[in-house]
């Protein structure tokens, strides 16, 4: 996948992702402050707007950085800052690359996970978006082609979310609820699952 395709693919996915805004708002209302729906909607719209303005010759790295900057400021929040940092870190792995394949995707997602873990001082099992991203990084790493990888990513993201439901939140606002956080899936991980699913739907439509 080259720059223009990547740009379109992201925009297509985000247009699907925003349909989950209410679900994410409700989850974040139960475990946090309820703004995740706004973060996702405002952030996605800001990214789409900036990507539309981007030149067709923009490199994958430039595309990822554009996404990061637009998402960071749309609705300032934990998710906005962590995701922006993750995208910036991922974008470094694409430096000098024009073509994004499975290997590049794997590197990107792995770098994203490591940024979130570092910035968020979080580990897998803390019941955060990291649980989903780490699981998807692993699924990509163990897949042999893009189609297989997409399906594996969808399954891994979903399984990670299911697992978060049984866990106690150890990071962010949800951690203040202590034991009361057990039982509900993590909003951030769910947002990531919906993104991966949207990505896969766009993939299916373009093949």
């Amino acid at each position: 996948m080259q720059g223009t395709n990547l740009n379109e693919h992201i925009r297509g996915s985000l247009e699907i992702l925003v349909e989950s805004a209410d679900e994410l708002r409700d989850l974040d209302q139960a475990l946090g402050d309820g703004d995740l729906g706004i973060t996702i909607t405002a952030g996605s719209h800001a990214v789409v707007a900036e990507l539309e303005k981007l030149s067709p010759t923009a490199t994958p790295t430039e595309i990822a950085r554009t996404c990061a900057k637009a998402f960071a400021s749309a609705n300032p929040s934990t998710m906005a800052a962590l995701v922006a940092g993750a995208l910036l870190n991922g974008s470094r792995t694409w430096e000098g690359k024009d073509e994004i394949g499975l290997a590049e995707a794997t590197e990107f997602v792995t770098a994203a996970a490591s940024s979130i873990s570092q910035r968020g001082k979080s580990e897998v099992g803390d019941k955060t978006i990291l649980d989903g991203i780490a699981a998807v990084a692993e699924a990509l790493r163990t897949s042999s082609d893009s189609t297989e990888a997409t399906d594996a990513a969808v399954r891994a993201a979903g399984r990670a979310v299911e697992e978060t439901a049984g866990l106690q939140s150890r990071r962010g606002r949800a951690s203040w609820l202590q034991e009361r956080s057990i039982g509900l899936p993590d909003p951030g991980a769910t947002a990531f699952q919906r993104l991966v699913e949207a990505w896969s739907r766009v993939s299916a439509a373009t093949h």
């Binding site: 960071a72 609705n75 300032p76 934990t78 800052a81 962590l82 940092g85």
Partner: protein, 333 residues
């Protein structure tokens, strides 16, 4: 929802505009963004800048502590949510006088991640930054996890001391060390009696059955260490001050500054009841209150409740506390 507001989504921009209209001699916006406020004389060449920030709804925190001898600038988030890294970065540039910038704010995830991101941007432009986090809420984590504690009203002491240090010309490392030292010797605990209603959602910030209180509540209504029946003012002070003294390890001969802070709806009269008992407890233990502060220093919109903070004093800290300061909400002379 019993609020004097216009459109909920305009709430933050409008009250910031009100502050700017009322105090043009003290604060200004460096650019077009109402969410970035700096002292009117910023930047001060050769002096360390101090940028704070966080969610709205806590006046006089954070915007109220931008002024002479206090913070140099603030980035302003929506109600109870973080400002963006861009806004923090803009504040950073506007207050940088060439001696670097201290980020001094409360330890909340969203704020930390956005300040860190802003610090990266500042670094790219050659502005040196340091970060010191307010983390005085003893109820939010046990002592062995004190670095993870939330920051609440006690950050006022850090603003006052770091601001005075910056004003007298300390280096970035020195100002950061002053802030860190004050944070290390500050402890706060609050009680919540009734929630605030968030202007955007119209929902209460937490649920509390009638006749109960949350001991150790956070400044956004975060659950505290326990919930129980509402106690008398004296009982509340006994519990809170007892916990603070233990946490700071203070005993006979110690000198402290005390901050009895109202969370919004609690009348000043009730704060003085808490102060009275605090004074009695400390006197009994041979601890001297050298500086008392009673009033609203960090609120949570119209939440009912109060917090008590102690700062252990030594001569250096006391001198910084007594240094002159002037902002729209605080003055010391």
């Amino acid at each position: 929802m019993k609020k004097i507001i216009n459109k909920p989504e305009d709430f933050v921009d409008e009250f910031v505009e009100g502050i700017l209209l009322a105090h043009p001699d003290l604060v200004k916006t460096p650019g077009d963004d109402l969410r970035v406020l700096v002292r009117a004389d910023a930047p001060l060449t050769g002096k360390v800048g101090i940028v704070t920030g966080g969610g709205s709804g806590h006046l006089p925190l954070f915007k109220g502590y931008v002024g002479k001898g206090l913070c140099s600038g603030v980035a302003i988030g929506n109600v109870f949510s973080s400002p963006s890294s861009d806004q923090i970065f803009e504040a950073t540039k506007a207050v940088d006088g060439g001696a670097g910038v201290l980020y001094l704010y409360g330890n909340y995830g969203g704020d930390v991640f956005n300040f860190d991101l802003a610090g990266d941007l500042a670094e790219l432009e050659g502005i040196e930054t340091r970060t010191v986090l307010g983390r005085d809420d003893v109820a939010s984590q046990p002592k062995d996890r004190r670095l993870d504690r939330r920051g609440v009203a006690g950050i006022f002491f850090a603003y006052k001391a770091a601001g005075a240090a910056a004003e007298r010309g300390d280096s970035l490392d020195q100002v950061a060390a002053v802030a860190e030292d004050v944070v290390d010797h500050t402890a706060t605990m609050g009680v919540g009696l009734a929630p605030t209603i968030l202007p955007t959602t119209g929902r209460p910030s937490f649920e509390l059955p009638d006749g109960e209180m949350e001991i150790g509540i956070g400044i956004h209504g975060e659950p505290g260490s326990r919930r129980g029946p509402l106690e008398t003012a004296d009982e509340i002070a006994d519990h809170v001050v007892g916990a603070l003294l233990e946490d700071l390890g203070l005993g006979e001969g110690a000198r402290v500054a005390v901050l009895v802070n109202g969370l919004g709806a609690t009348p000043l009269e009730e704060l003085y009841l808490l102060y009275r008992r605090t004074h009695q407890i400390l006197a009994e233990r041979g601890i001297e209150i050298v500086r008392p502060y009673v009033g609203e220093y960090a609120t949570s919109l119209e939440m009912a409740g109060a917090s008590i903070s102690l700062l252990e004093l030594d001569d250096a800290r006391l001198q910084l506390l007594d240094a002159p300061a002037l902002s729209p909400f605080f003055q010391e002379r």
